[in-house]
């Protein structure tokens, strides 16, 4: 299986899509993306976390800290902190726009692919 690092535009649309399903924290997002792409997309954490931060700054996602307390935590101690991300209304709109743009772009490419493929057929018909 070919694995590759997608570009930032692609990563962003993937992250927004994943977060449109449910709120998640960073590590869970990376696992979800890997699982959802059968391992084809591997998000480097060095790319993932700065991008999440950037999207948070832009208001596409919101973040809140949650305390994670294990069963074995000592009495009176607070748990670890985990940062959860949620898609905002602005992020949802942005995702819709990106999806529309992506599909429009795809359709354009298909027009050319279809044209060249069908062109050969046309020549057959003409001959």
């Amino acid at each position: 299986m070919v694995t590759r690092e997608p570009n930032q535009q692609q990563v962003e649309i993937v992250l927004l899509s994943v977060l449109s399903e449910e709120p998640m924290y960073g590590y869970a997002i990376s696992k979800r993306v890997a699982a959802g792409s059968d391992g084809a997309i591997k998000l480097s954490p060095g790319v993932l976390y700065p991008l999440l931060r950037q999207m948070e700054k832009e208001g596409y996602i919101t973040a809140n800290w949650e305390t994670v307390k294990s069963d074995r935590a000592e009495e009176g101690t607070e748990g670890r902190k985990r940062k959860w991300y949620t898609l905002s209304a602005k992020g949802r709109t942005h995702l819709e726009q990106r999806v529309a743009a992506h599909r429009a772009h795809q359709r354009m490419i298909e027009r050319f692919l279809g044209g060249s493929g069908a062109g050969a057929g046309g020549e057959e018909a003409a001959s």
Binding site: S44, G46, P50, A100, R107, G119, G122
Partner: protein, 472 residues
């Protein structure tokens, strides 16, 4: 968590919020802590931000190491691998720092991509219309350009040496226009326009419009520009944004013709979304609220498009809709051959189809002025002649009930008739200005005083294709 893992990360520590944790002194935890220390030093961000990033990265490393150990990897190897996956500490810190400062730049990049994608889709869909016609051909137009000076003073000329200060420059603007000046220095200085800065280029008889453009080029202030407007006997000098906020307008457009054009050729997806993205992508993208700006908004209600934006945006919205509307006229009004043989076009390439087979045209003849398109390919021929009158449009905006883009009737259209057709009245109108855009330059073709409109025998010029009427 098993004992080995608990030992690695220590017992659950006391923590309040994303504060910096205490780090274990030895083993893999020490290695992780040391690496995080390096990243945090390189971040050079406020303490609270730094601690938030550290806590999140630490949590990631904790989980990653745990997973690797569950898969059977030894603790130290798992730690090293998890850290190596995060990459070089300096590069990571750099990416975090850039994330703090690049939202706007990235936003514009995204907008450009969205606008381009929508533009490509729409332009591709409309086929052989004015957007893709040859430069200089009749009917090919560019959208109205941004004007830094009011039309009534923009053509006056100014002469100054390159070492003249900006303060001297604005005084000269007042002198040549014969008006008192009011300069909003606070707004201008925020953008880097200081009183004492030299204009830097010699100006010998250049128009005020050009002079402002030259000053704007000298001060790289992004989308913010210096501009001037006449208000009564006063020449106000401030930022374009300042004047835009004053000149907000709400205009309703009929999208039906444009949507039909795109749907007829493309037929898939949310075409009105493509159209609105195109508008938001090409007209001052950074000003639209959807793009993070603060001025412009648009709403779609059925076939209507409501655009609340600075007045200078509206002619370009009209221009875009006019291009698409004309595209429809060219194909929908085409004659019988189109029904028998469908065709799509992009740039100089025409694809024709008959009986499900497609060929690329060998030769294309395009005469938009006469509304005629001829293309021939192997075994297929297209001859489409549109009703020429359907190809010509004019637009009306301002103080009328029905602003928008109108098809020119066969017999032509006079200015006064166009105002009436647009739901305008002659009473209370200060002035009517008709402009035309050619080769990217906007020029005033007619200017009629309000009091002259209602007079019998007053001038009533005939409109030309693509002209924009502004009723003030």
């Amino acid at each position: 968590m098993n004992a080995r893992l608990r030992r690695m990360w220590g017992a659950e520590r006391k923590a309040v919020g994303p504060k910096r944790p205490e780090h274990g002194p030895v083993g893999p935890c020490h290695e992780t802590g040391a690496w995080l220390d390096v990243v945090c030093k390189l971040l050079r961000l406020p303490r609270e931000e730094t601690e938030g990033i550290r806590t999140e990265l630490e949590e990631h490393l904790r989980e990653r190491v745990r997973d690797l150990m569950v898969e059977g990897e030894p603790e130290e190897a798992a730690t090293r691998r998890a850290i190596s996956e995060l990459g070089d500490a300096a590069a990571l810190a750099d990416r975090f720092r850039r994330a703090e400062h690049t939202p706007r730049r990235r936003m514009l990049m995204n907008i450009a991509m969205l606008g381009m994608a929508a533009g490509v889709a729409v332009a591709g869909a409309v086929g052989l219309n004015k957007l893709s016609g040859p430069p200089g051909a009749s009917g090919v137009a560019s959208p109205p350009q941004v004007r830094f000076a009011s039309a009534d003073v923009g053509e006056k000329t100014i002469t100054l040496a390159a070492d003249a200060t900006l303060d001297r420059f604005v005084q000269e603007l007042g002198r040549v226009t014969g008006k008192g000046t009011h300069v909003y220095w606070d707004s201008l200085q925020d953008l880097g326009f200081d009183k004492d800065m030299q204009i830097g280029v010699p100006m010998a008889g250049v128009t005020i419009e050009t002079a402002l453009m030259l000053v704007n080029e000298r001060v790289k202030s992004g989308d913010q520009k210096i501009a001037c407007r006449v208000t009564g006997d006063l020449l106000e000098i401030s930022t374009l944004h300042h004047f835009d906020k004053r000149a907000m307008t709400l205009v309703a457009y009929d999208m039906e013709a444009a949507l039909s054009t795109i749907t007829a050729e493309n037929g898939k997806g949310d075409v009105s979304e493509q159209l609105t993205q195109l508008i938001k992508g090409v007209i001052d993208p950074e000003q639209w609220k959807d793009n993070g700006g603060e001025l412009a908004e648009l709403y779609r209600v059925g076939p209507k498009l409501f655009v609340k934006a600075p007045a200078r945006f509206q002619p370009t919205v009209q221009w875009i809709l006019a291009q698409l509307g004309s595209g429809k006229a060219a194909s929908a009004a085409a004659g019988e051959p189109v029904e028998k043989t469908s065709f799509t076009a992009s740039g100089d390439r025409v694809t024709m189809a008959r009986a499900g087979k497609q060929v690329i045209a060998d030769a294309i003849e395009l005469d938009p002025a006469k509304g005629r398109i001829e293309a021939t390919g192997k075994g297929v021929e297209v001859r489409a002649t549109a009703d020429p009158s359907r190809l010509f449009t004019y637009s009306i905006t301002g103080q009328v009930e029905h602003p928008g883009v109108y098809c020119m009737p066969r017999e032509g259209m006079s200015l006064r008739r166009a105002i009436v057709a647009g739901g305008g009245k002659f009473e209370g109108v200060k002035e009517v200005v008709v402009t035309k855009t050619e080769n990217g330059l906007v020029s005033v073709t007619h200017r009629v005083k309000g009091e002259e409109l209602g007079l019998a025998g007053a001038k009533d010029p005939m409109l030309a294709d693509g002209e924009v009427i502004e009723v003030k």
